[in-house]
């Protein structure tokens, strides 16, 4: 078992443990329908977590992903539904803005935390302009896709697996993925080897933008309407998801499969707490406690890793 396997073991174990606890509390959840219900909202969270992972991978952090996903959800629920050409052009434009943001952050040596903070105002302003009051409706095909019922395994399980595997092969196996991780690990070395760090950073941000768009679309497919604040929680959830999944803030050390599992764990934690009949006062606090608990266990793992 190498280091990467050890790194993924903890997220898998914590998800398994949480799932077992949920099944113990509510045995009826152990069904096609139950699983779909438990993990339904994990799909957009997982996509947003992958977006955050792309940014963390190049040693930056994105504090605007929540407002960006909200913006994309608003566009999907309005323009994409009523006027697809304009709608998709807007979403493409949003991805281009993300790529440009990455380029500017690198070219001017700006702190990503502040630029994305500023952009979070921008996106939430755009979202309010597009959809001043909650509403809109999902494009029919999107709704059908998110609510599809394939045999044996529900969409809510298939989608995260597909997302995780695609990104795993892209990040860990493709040459572009290696270069992107290299930017996070040692951007000077990448620069000296003749690659354009500027281009690579723009690519990483662009891919993050793409996943933000997908997250917003998936969210609308599930909820069938949008509002300007629909996904504000995603900023913090996505950071927590990447870290829970074994990723780190620096050095390009991330795990796409871990990130998806981290997102599923966080979503499941919310259901678990409601099954516990915990007073709603303590719901948020218990999520914080679960986060701390998993990271505490990880400390034991990393110590062992250091010894090995």
């Amino acid at each position: 078992m190498n280091r990467d396997h050890l790194r993924i073991l903890l997220p898998v174990l914590s998800l398994g443990l949480l799932l077992a606890a949920v099944f113990y509390l509510q045995p009826r959840a152990m069904s096609y329908f139950g699983l779909n219900l438990l993990f339904n909202l994990a799909v957009p969270v997982a996509l947003a977590t992958i977006a955050q992972m792309m940014i963390l991978m190049v040693n930056d952090i994105d504090l605007s992903i929540g407002t960006f996903v909200s913006f994309c959800a608003c566009v999907t629920a309005t323009f994409v539904q009523s006027d697809p050409v304009t709608g998709y052009a807007m979403l493409l434009g949003a991805i281009a803005v993300y790529a440009a943001m990455g380029a500017i952050i690198h070219a001017r040596g700006l702190p990503a935390i502040v630029v994305t903070l500023g952009m979070s105002f921008f996106w939430s302003g755009m979202a309010i302009l597009i959809l001043p009051s909650p509403g809109g409706s999902a494009p029919a095909w999107l709704n059908a896709m998110m609510k599809a019922k394939p045999p044996l395994v529900p969409v809510a399980i298939i989608a995260p697996i597909v997302i995780g595997l695609i990104m795993h092969y892209f990040i860990k196996r493709s040459s572009l993925g290696v270069l992107l991780r290299g930017v996070g690990g040692n951007s000077q070395a990448i620069d000296r080897a003749g690659w354009s760090v500027l281009g690579l950073k723009a690519t990483a941000y662009g891919i993050a933008g793409l996943f933000g768009v997908l997250s917003g679309m998936a969210l609308v497919g599930l909820t069938t309407s949008a509002d300007a604040n629909i996904a504000l929680r995603y900023t913090l959830l996505s950071i927590a998801g990447v870290i829970l999944g074994g990723g780190e803030f620096t050095g390009g050390r991330v795990s796409p499969i871990g990130a998806v599992i981290g997102a599923m764990t966080l979503t499941l934690a919310a259901s678990f707490l409601s099954f516990l009949h915990l007073s709603s006062d303590w719901q948020i606090g218990a999520q914080g406690a679960i986060l701390i608990l998993v990271l505490a266990v990880r400390l034991v793992f990393t110590r062992r890793e250091a010894l090995a």
Binding site: G109, L110, P111, I113, V114, V115, G125, I243, A289, A296
Partner: protein
Amino acid sequence: MSVENNVQNTAPRGVTALLGLVSRKAWIWAWLAAGATFIAAMMAGSGGGAEAGSLLYAAFTFAAFTVIVGIGQMFVVTLGPGNVDLSIPATMTLAGTVALKFMASDGSLVVPGLLIAIGVGLGCGLFNFGLILLMRIPPIIATLASSFLFQSVAIWSNRGLRIKPPEGLADFATGGTLGIPNVALVALGVSVLAWVVLERAIMGRWILASGQNKRAARLGGVPVTAVHFGVYVGCAVLAGFTGFLLASFSGGANLNMGTEYMLMSIAVVVIGGSSIAGGNSNVPGIWAAALFMFLLVSMLNSYGLGAGVRLILTGLIIVSVVVLASKKGGRV
């Protein structure tokens, strides 16, 4: 350094001094931006000295709260990459609710109430630091997770009650002395103290050294762990104190009173010219940035723009200021 020397040889003395000041003091840009926003806000209104006066009064009042939490955040950010306190809003809310509940609008309990708010801040800071040091959780995640816990405790202890602050305290928080808001005077006191700590005390040198190179600082005999302890606890204490002030100012604590201060505290640190990479900070910039942020919103308000356009412009202006301010030696 060489650039400055060249300038010295060719330009007249006054210009040299000015250029030198601008290139050394990053906070000049923030003050220029704040001044420009003030003028723009004035041009939108009907003008007149009274209006300018009341705008400035409001700006200093609201900037005061941002300044106090901003100073705490500044010390944390100074510690280097990855150091940021996301639990400031939750700490403010918790301290505000607990202190107001304890005082129960009784004027004789103001001092114990203040001590309780500071004590809550102290507790939150110790908890944060415990997570960071003992469990080696990255500060961003540690303070994020603990903020969830603090928020829950605040919800539990508050139960949706809105308790009014004691009358004397409310009068103090909303009043002014010699035309200056009392809260701004308090913030000024905190700033002077922070400036002395940062620029004139050994603690400040230690904080900067830890932020510039933790390993070198440790080898050089700086008690790095103690420095981190002091900074995180100090930041939480300032947040608790601000929660107390803000709750007294706005006639009671509520559960989302701290929300905007998460983004605000980070934004003022960076717009004020402190390096987000750590090891280089200044106090005057915090004031300029806090005034700038308030004036920006009131300027956009006075032009009668809708909420959406206002947010878009706020975002674009923040990004532009950061891009412009980074002109000199952004990459090190």
